[in-house]
């Protein structure tokens, strides 16, 4: 049960926040984040943000996967 959704925080008020993805917004709880801010990307599971998504690392992962796919295309 690791199903989770990446949301971008559009509002933060104590432990309550609003997350947005592809135009859909939802109330979520941010009890487990240190110092959550509007604009943060978070991994949200069952209505709770369980971690901040490291945007730099995510971009590095996407770039690595593109490199992998380009290499596979040459085989």
């Amino acid at each position: 049960m690791c199903l989770a959704v990446p949301f971008r925080l559009t509002k933060v008020d104590g432990v309550n926040a609003v997350g947005e993805k592809d135009g859909v917004t939802r109330d979520i709880r941010v009890d487990f984040l240190r110092d959550p801010k509007v604009g943060d990307y978070v991994v949200c599971h069952a209505g709770f943000a369980i971690e901040r998504l490291d945007a730099a690392q995510a971009q590095a992962d996407l770039d690595a996967w593109n490199e992998l796919e380009e290499a596979l295309a040459t085989l």
Partner: protein
């Protein structure tokens, strides 16, 4: 072996097995929290749905899990008048309690460490709210004890583990170090995109071939080495370990999470005097063996013929994260 229902589904959906070399076998282990919920616990939930004024608030995939009696499930009961509300978050149960002051709302707390912190926050919020009509039935289980139980089995033959990405978000790389350090078993934390899984498996296979054993983290964008201490602190504040029954495996010591005495007013087991009586699985059902990774879904005699998503015999076919549901949904075209 992978031990995460979300990995089970992602692997089936992306057809990862078709990419693996012939000498690599990927086994599904106990990763689906609904599937490992014991038959006796399911029957206790069904009995609870009979109680006057009870509204059960639950995650969706519990609704069709079969009880011991033929045709019995929360879905069947709700067709006969039981009140069952599907929620996305345990916090939603508080809203239901406020809107239904004459009803007793019980949240079914199923899940592993990914779900435990939010469930704990719900229990805490329920107590602080002073609402008299809300409680939690904790069926939460933890990963380390079941991994240890599997490793201790005489027929254990797994060379490495693909570790659950979001359980690792909570527990960190540190939470699984016992695997290489105590047992010499390599393990890689993986995310859920197909590329995450391929990279994580590549790194795991490389460790196995080189005779190495360490924790690697492929999912660094969401998993810190130390995990999430705030989340773990919330779990520890509200829950304490207790022995728990796992479908197909039996009683594993200290593998479940019970609500602490401090929050006992929110504990549905105490409020309703629930007794969990050991119950056999439905006849012919091999879910227990599938969950342990001893039998693949396709090798269950009921798979696809008697047991289908429309008419499931056991939870592995019902749950959105069950190994049999994954195998059936993504089976090769005829």
């Amino acid at each position: 072996m992978e031990v995460c229902g979300t990995h089970t589904m992602a692997i089936a959906k992306a057809g990862i097995r078709s990419l693996l070399p012939p000498d690599v076998e990927l086994i599904s282990g106990p990763g689906c929290p609904v599937c490992v919920t014991d038959q006796s616990e399911i029957d206790a939930i069904l009995r609870l749905s009979e109680e006057r004024n009870v509204i059960l608030a639950t995650y969706g995939d519990m609704v069709r899990v079969p009880g011991s009696a033929a045709g019995d499930s929360l879905a069947a009961r709700s067709a006969k008048g039981a009140r069952v509300r599907v929620v996305y978050s345990p916090i939603d149960a508080l809203g239901i309690a406020r809107e239904n002051p004459d009803a007793e709302i019980v949240f079914l707390g199923v899940g592993f460490e990914t779900t435990a912190p939010g469930t704990a926050a719900f229990v805490k919020a329920a107590k602080e709210s002073g609402l008299p009509n809300v409680s939690c039935l904790s069926l939460l289980k933890t990963c380390e004890p079941v991994l240890r139980a599997l490793i201790a089995e005489p027929d254990f033959r797994v060379d490495g583990f693909l570790l659950p990405g979001h359980v690792s978000t909570i527990l960190g790389e540190d939470g699984f170090r016992f695997l290489p350090e105590e047992f010499g078993i390599p393990a890689v934390i993986g995310g859920f995109e197909p590329e995450d899984i391929i990279v994580a498996l590549t790194r795991l296979i490389r460790q196995i071939r080189n005779g190495e054993a360490k924790i690697e983290n492929e999912y660094r964008r969401a998993v810190r080495p130390e995990g999430n201490p705030l989340a773990r602190r919330m779990i520890e504040a509200v829950f304490e370990p207790e022995d728990s029954l796992w479908r197909g495996i039996g009683r594993i010591p200290k593998s479940g999470l019970a609500i602490r005495k401090e929050y006992e007013t929110i504990d549905a087991k105490k409020r309703f005097g629930l007794v969990i009586r050991e119950t056999p699985e439905p006849a012919g059902c091999r879910c227990g063996s599938v969950i342990r990774g001893a039998v693949s879904p396709e090798r269950c005699p009921l798979f696809g013929r008697i047991c289908t998503p429309e008419e499931p015999v056991g939870p592995c076919m019902v749950s959105s994260e069950g190994a049999c549901a994954a195998a059936y949904k993504y089976r090769p075209a005829e």
